[in-house]
């Protein structure tokens, strides 16, 4: 019942160096999924021996998941989450507070299977018979940050959507109960968005900013004392 694919993650080192082989099972699955979902599939990608990524359109999100479950037997719900593709304006919080913040590239670059929006929803579902997993992505519109809930397809998605709601500020229409799960009820902001600063890295400067104090008026030749 194992996925037949062979790839760079195999235990025999000889095969890792081989060029990417063709993954028949997964390719066939993608073709089948395209057949079922039709135009709903925006993009798809197969990493041989590794995984499948499918991006479906925002409107067909719930229906696609439902069809994947019903038609292709992806009946095991693994997780649901979101990705904020905006690069963090704060970096790793290692900037020197006494100097002006460095310029950072803030262009949004989506990952596998592309994407047009800042937020993307990601769900992983698995076929419990063949143990073949699939990552399904969907864009979350930039203006409303709202998408249809799949909690009536997979009951387990309920909590995951609540988590995504409070952490990313994504609304799920049709979700029975979008209360905060981790955060206090009156918490403001969405912590997992990239533009939400991580205070633990703001309250004190990075100890690594400090450098060895140079010799007063000394020459610039660097020489280590240890040999």
């Amino acid at each position: 019942m194992k996925p037949k694919g062979k790839g760079n993650q195999l235990s025999s080192p000889a095969e890792t160096s081989a060029a990417p082989v063709v993954d028949a099972t997964r390719d066939a699955m993608v073709v089948a999924i395209r057949g079922t979902l039709g135009a709903a599939v925006v993009d798809s990608m197969v990493k041989p021996g590794d995984d499948i990524w499918v991006r479906v359109s925002t409107e067909s999100w719930r229906n696609s998941i439902q069809k994947l479950k019903d038609v292709h037997g992806f009946d095991y719900f693994c997780f649901l989450s979101a990705i904020d593709w905006l690069p963090s304006p704060f970096g790793r919080g290692e900037d020197d507070p006494s100097e002006p913040a460095p310029e950072r590239d803030s262009t949004i670059r989506p990952g596998y299977t592309g994407g047009d929006t800042r937020m993307q929803l990601l769900v992983r579902i698995v076929n419990s018979e063949t143990h073949l997993g699939i990552n399904v992505k969907a864009d979350v519109p930039n203006d409303s940050y709202t998408i249809e809930s799949i909690s009536n397809v997979f009951a387990g998605a309920n909590w995951h959507e609540r988590e995504a709601h409070e952490m990313f500020g994504i609304g799920f229409t049709g979700h029975p109960d979008l209360r905060n799960m981790y955060l206090p009820t009156d918490f403001e902001g969405f912590p997992m968005r990239k533009d939400f600063p991580l205070l633990a890295r703001m309250v004190k400067p990075w100890p690594g900013i400090v450098d060895v104090e140079p010799l007063p008026g000394g020459d610039a030749t660097e020489e280590e004392s240890a040999s």
Partner: protein
Amino acid sequence: MAKVPGLIKGLGITFGTMMRTFKNGSNTVQYPHEKETPPIRARGVIALHQDNCTSCMLCSRSCPDWCIYIEAHKELAPPRREGGKPRQVNMLDRFDIDYALCMYCGICVEVCPFDALFWSPEYEYSEPNITDLLHDKTKLSEWMETVPEAPELEVGADKKKK
């Protein structure tokens, strides 16, 4: 009744354990009176070998918790060879590890390129006051005495590594 055996067997287990404890002693250790020796690799406290430290800041920069604070300045030292130029050396002014923040991950010990940091299995340095957990370089150097030799490796290990 079919009910009895499981219940009776359970009583046997507790009674057996009691008898074993009587005979062989307990599995616990009366801590302040007797102590267990931690394994050689145990990550108890970080010791600093000051002579090896070049204040390269690598440990401070790779610390995930930002708990190593280093300050240093450059100084001129007499040349190593006769007639050479005076060398510039980094003099360590401050080397603090805040054990209240430290997660004992050992990354600093690992990244240190000059073998200046070591793990010592010593563990008895709890303090009533949290600020006392900030160990400065003198205290960190004192731990050097407790650093053990690295253990022998298991059969089949690659011997090339030191």
